[in-house]
C-alpha cells in the first residue's frame, strides 16, 4: 500500500497536499484499490465555497458509488478535467495524475483533523 510520507490524509481516505493557501485533494491508493475500476468522476462544485465535510463530488466505480468530502472549509478553485476522459488515472496514479481538486482557503489552515502518513497507515491497517 503506497502512503507517501509528505502528504496529509483524512479518515475518508483522501490525501491533501498543502502549498501556501492552496491544497490539492485526491483519494488514496487504499481507496482506489477498495473501489476497483473507476469509471466516472463527477465534480460540479468548481467555484463554490464549501464547508468541511460537505460533498464536493462523486466517484463511480463499476460496482459502487462513493461521495467525495471536503477535508476543510475552502473554495473549489479547480477540477482535474482530464479525469472526465480518463477516470482510470485515479486507479493508475492516485497521488499524481489522478488528483481531483484544488482548494483555496483563507488564513491559517486548521489541520488538526488531518492524519499524517503514520496515522493513516494505522487507520487502514
Amino acid at each position: 500500500m503506497n502512503i507517501p510520507s509528505d502528504l496529509k490524509y483524512t479518515k475518508d481516505h483522501e490525501w491533501v497536499k498543502v502549498q501556501g493557501n492552496t491544497a490539492t485533494i485526491g483519494i488514496t491508493d487504499f481507496a482506489q484499490s477498495e473501489l476497483g475500476d473507476i469509471v466516472f468522476v463527477e465534480i460540479e462544485t468548481t467555484g463554490e465555497d464549501l464547508d468541511a465535510g460537505e460533498v464536493f463530488g462523486t466517484i463511480e466505480a463499476v460496482k459502487t458509488v462513493s461521495d467525495l468530502f471536503m477535508p476543510f472549509k475552502g473554495n473549489v478553485k479547480e477540477f482535474n478535467s482530464e479525469l472526465e476522459a480518463s477516470p482510470e488515472m485515479v486507479n493508475e496514479d492516485p497521488y499524481g495524475k489522478g488528483w481531483m481538486i484544488k482548494i483555496e482557503f483563507e488564513g491559517d489552515l486548521d489541520d488538526s483533523e488531518l492524519l499524517d502518513a503514520e496515522a493513516y497507515k494505522d487507520l487502514v491497517g
Binding site: G36, D37, V39, E42, V62, K63
Partner: protein, 361 residues
Amino acid sequence: MKKTALYDKHVALGAKMVPFAGYEMPVQYTGVKEEHLIVRNGVGMFDVSHMGEFYVKGDKALALLQKVTTNDVSKLIPGKIQYSCLPNGKGGIVDDLLVYCISEKEYLLVVNASNIEKDWNWIKSQNDMGAEMVNESDSISLFAIQGPKTNDALQSLTDVVLSEMGYYTFSIGKFAGVENVIISATGYTGSGGFEIYVKNKDAEKVWDAIIEAGAKLDLKPIGLAARDTLRLEMGFCLYGNDIDDTTSPIEAGLGWITKFTKDFIDNDLLLSQKENGTDRKLVGFTMIDRGIPRKDYRILDADGNEMGVVTSGTQSPSLDKAIGMGYVKAEQKASGTEIFIEIRNKSLKAEITKLPFYKAD
C-alpha cells in the same frame, strides 16, 4: 461466515474476499474490467460453490417439480436442463433455478446461495406427495468456466466431447481423473462455457487441473463482480435485484419459462397476467447522458413523473456505456422510449433498449 473449499486458493491468488450470501467469496482478483474482458474474449473460471444443490428423487419427483416450478418439467429428458422459477403463491418469485433431469426419477435443482434455506423450506412445504428431497448444498463445489476458449481449455481433461454438447445439456463423467463429475453446458455470462459440479473433497484437485490445462489459453480466475457485469450485459435477471418475492415472472419477461401446459402454483394468476398484461414490465435501458444507474434509483418520464425503478445498473465493460434494467409502466416499455434516471437529484436521459445489450460477434 461459510467458506468454499477453495477459500485458501483465492486468498493466495490475491483475491479480494467479501461476504456474499453467507459465504466469503472472491469479488475480484486483478480488476473487474480486465476479468470481464477475459471471459468475453478468452476463458475464465469462477468459483460459484456457494450456489445450492437439491436432489429430488422417486416416483413423486416429477409431480412435485411440476407443482413448484413454472417451466414444464415433463418436457425434460435425461441429460437436459431447464431454466425455471419457483412462484410463491402470491404472484411473486421465491427463486429462479436450474432443473437438471438425471433420470425420470431423479432431478437436480440448482438455486441461489442467498435463498437455499428459503427454497428448501418452501419446496418441502409443498411436498404433500412425498417426493424424496436431499440438500447437498454444503457438499458440492461448482466452478463455471466461461468464454469462447473454454472447450480448448478443458477438452484434455475429459473424454466427453465438449464441442458436441448443446446449450443446456449435461453429461456425468470422468473429469480431471475424478469420477461422477457433472459437466454442464450452462453459464451466466453469455460467452458460452461449462459449469462443473464436484464433491468438495475433489474441488482442489479439479480446480488445479483446470488452471493447469487452461494456462496455455491464459485462463484466469474471475471474481463475482465480473459475473455481475457479464450477466447484466446479457439482460439475465439477478434474484434480489431484478426479480424477487414481489415481482411476477410475467412482469420480469420470464413468460418463456412459464408454461401453462400443466398445473402449478399461481397457474391461474400468471395465466391471467399473460392474457391481460401487467401494469409494469422489466426492461433494459442505456444511458444517453453521462451517469451510472444503480439499484433503487427512480425512473422518470420527460415530465418528471415517476414511472418505475432501476433494479440493476453498471458501466458495461464490453460496450463502454452505462446500462441498466428496471421496471417501467407497461405502456412505456417500447424500445427507443426516452426515459430519465434520477441520479443525485438530476434527471439524466436514457433510452429503453432491447435485450441483450451485448451480442457476441
